[in-house]
């Protein structure tokens, strides 16, 4: 049996966990001291050796990304942290930064030192003001302690960090759209190549990494690549945050080695809502093809999930029980992609709009059998033809949903409408209704 491995989450409940004092009392910033005494090239090698792969969804090897930067030419190179967590179902980076922002700050300093960057940016989505407060304060504390600025920890290394708040746009999680947004433009993806490693922020060599990836760096530097590889599988090494949401008894963050299964996680989370059964789930957010109870034993690592027909993505495990209409769920996701499509490329802009129209027609009972073919055809014309991964993501739940739940789609057609009662899916009258709600009269 796989068990949990609290590492990043280990001190999330400490008193004033977000403060530098608490972070240091729990061993924080010792890896930075080690790093500053290490040759930057050796740090890159260490991250490569650890096998750490990007925790933001794509799973690209982090050390390799660092290694792609061209040789120094005397000009600036940048580290940009992607803290734009917006993929539906994904809810790991925001609680990490709220509880222990210094994990990210320490990772930023080590990474910047490793790649020769003197100005790093943290691009946080704008819709989480308290997380922004915590990050701003953490960075200020690091300056005050001499861990940022002109002489990081007395090493002579110089680094400034700017925490930048976005303003509401899912597409800015795409790394080149993020860079355009950070440059004060509409957040639209860039044509690649050139990749950010060659021409990124301000057309200079840039590394863009996810929050969890960067927060994992101090752990690897502090405890070694071999320690990291003790967890996970051969090609999906290490640990990660698995975020369970939806119809489970105890939704939340479960930090575990990659390769754990949903069956194991569900057992830890107390199982599916009482009186119901698992119907479908996303392994890595709404851009990943749907899984069902058939996939309970798929190891949640990059290779196994891909082999089973989906993607590990952000380990955003959204769990839906048998009360949920799959057509309703998919239609709502499609509306999301239509809303968030940046409009730059035709397949995504036009395609997501048509997908929504057809899906709404089906959901309301006005659809015909041909509409299912139309959906698949439109998906086929988006997948692989869009400018960035947003378009591909929009098709994932639709094609996988029709494949696995065709009969349920058909049950909606020709005037039938939705056979499900939305009230049966809500949490009201079941659990947690009376507690935890915002309290009035602070």
């Amino acid at each position: 049996m796989t068990t949990l491995t609290p590492i990043l989450s280990k001190h999330w409940d400490a008193d004033r966990s977000w403060s530098m004092a608490t972070y240091q009392a729990n061993g924080g910033y010792t890896a930075l001291r080690t790093a500053l005494g290490t040759d930057p090239a050796d740090l890159i090698t260490q991250i490569k050796d650890s096998g750490l792969r990007g925790r933001g969804g794509a799973g690209f090897p982090t050390g390799m990304k660092w290694g792609f930067l061209p040789a120094p030419d005397g000009g600036p190179r940048y580290l940009v942290v992607n803290a734009d967590e917006s993929e539906p179902g994904t809810c790991k980076d925001i609680p990490l930064m709220m509880a222990t922002p210094h994990q990210l700050v320490e990772g930023v300093i080590i990474t910047a030192y490793a790649i020769g960057c003197h100005h790093a940016f943290i691009y946080l989505r704008g819709e989480v003001v308290h997380v922004y407060r915590r990050l701003l304060q953490a960075v200020q504390e690091a300056y005050d302690a001499g861990l940022l600025g002109s002489d990081v920890g007395g090493s002579g290394f110089q680094l400034d960090v700017t925490v930048h708040a976005g303003a509401g746009a899912y597409i800015c999680g795409e790394e080149t759209a993020l860079l355009d947004s950070l440059e004060g433009r509409r957040g639209q993806p860039r044509l690649k190549p050139p990749f950010p490693a060659v021409e990124g922020l301000y057309a200079r060599p840039t590394v863009v990494n996810n929050v969890e990836s960067i927060a994992s760096v101090p752990q690897i530097v502090g405890r070694g690549a071999d320690w990291f590889k003790e967890m996970g599988t051969e090609r999906s090494t290490g640990f990660g945050l698995f975020s369970l949401s939806g119809h489970v008894q105890h939704p939340g963050q479960y930090e575990a080695p990659l390769g754990i299964t949903l069956r194991e996680l569900l057992e830890m989370a107390g199982g599916i809502r009482e009186g119901h059964e698992l119907k479908f789930w996303t392994p890595g957010g709404s851009s990943t093809p749907l899984f069902t109870a058939e996939h309970l034993d798929v190891p949640l690592d990059y290779e196994s999930v891909a082999k089973a027909g989906s993607m590990l993505g952000t380990r955003a495990l959204q769990i839906f029980d048998d009360s949920v209409c799959v057509v309703r769920a998919i239609t709502r996701w499609a509306e999301f992609y239509k809303h968030e499509s940046c409009g730059k490329c035709t397949p995504c802009r036009e395609g997501t709009s048509w997908l929504v129209q057809v899906l709404q027609r089906i959901e309301s009972g006005r659809g015909s059998a041909e509409d299912l073919d139309t959906l698949l055809d439109v998906c086929d014309n988006i997948l692989g033809r869009a400018f960035c991964a947003l378009g591909d993501g929009a098709t994932s739940t639709i094609t996988s949903g029709i494949t696995q739940f065709r009969a349920e789609f058909e049950a909606h057609l020709n005037g039938a409408g939705c056979p499900f009662d939305p009230a049966a899916a809500t949490l009201f009258d079941s659990r947690r209704v009376t507690d935890a709600a915002g309290t009035v009269g602070a």
């Binding site: 600036p76 809810c91 509880a99 100005h119 301000y202």
Partner: protein
């Protein structure tokens, strides 16, 4: 500059200089925070604010407008004191977000991106706000209200409208106004970072389970072993 009195303009200019200074490589990077700053003064992205940003960054007003209209947090008309955003993305919607939305909308008598007549509440449908383990989620001025019901959401907006202080589940001690929130988003701390919890229950559920079970990362000593060795019970 047209649209601002001398005092406001002086203050804006000083703040804008502080924002621009964060981006020594290219002042244009200051545009998003400057638009938040404009909202902190005007309560939306006003024509005067667009002109101010354009003048500050040597852009045309068309270039600034093009950026401002791309992002959902920038408001094209005066916003209420509180933006109440109900997550109606799939997971929250299914778990109760749709019901919360329709009851709130009916209770307030307004729809998406509309504001109550008293200017207190602007209601919005919002997309996933990265708190799915606390579904259904409502955001008030971008502070988290976790595990909501129609009743709790209605109680919140009623309290906001009557001027009572309202506390988010994970955030500052009290929700501040849209303009104050916008000023923080422009990068000006308001001294509230130490308020509120570090984490909510769902955030800690895996950690607490691991502690109960004695599960630790490789190379760490499980609490059970420590207990055996030290002969006394340790919770963590």
């Amino acid at each position: 500059m047209a649209g601002y009195d001398a005092e406001t303009l002086a203050r804006l200019t000083e703040d804008a200089a502080a924002v621009v200074a964060r981006y020594p490589e290219d002042p244009r990077s200051a545009l998003l925070p400057l638009l938040h700053l404009v909202q902190s003064v005007d309560g939306y992205v006003s024509p005067a604010g667009i002109a101010f940003c354009a003048g500050t960054l040597d852009l045309s007003t068309a270039e600034v407008s093009a950026v401002a209209t791309f992002y959902t947090q920038y408001k094209r008309h005066p916003n209420g004191t509180y933006t109440v955003g109900v997550c109606t993305n799939t997971l929250c919607a299914v778990m109760g977000g749709d019901a919360i939305w329709s009851e709130l909308s009916e209770h307030l008598g307004i729809g998406h991106d509309e504001t109550t007549e008293d200017g207190a509440i602007t209601l919005e449908r919002v997309e996933c706000n990265a708190a799915c383990d606390y579904a259904p989620v409502v955001m008030v001025n971008w502070e988290f209200f976790d595990n909501q019901t129609p009743d709790s959401a209605i109680a919140t907006v009623d309290a906001l409208r009557s001027g009572q202080p309202v506390r988010p589940t994970r955030g500052a001690d009290q929700v501040v106004s849209f303009r104050e929130t916008s000023r923080v988003l422009a990068g000006f701390p308001d001294g509230r970072a130490d308020q509120g919890p570090g984490a909510g229950d769902a955030t800690l559920v895996g950690l607490r389970l691991a502690r109960r079970e004695g599960w630790v990362a490789p190379g760490e000593t499980p609490p059970a072993t420590r207990r055996a060795r030290g002969g006394k019970r340790e919770e963590s």
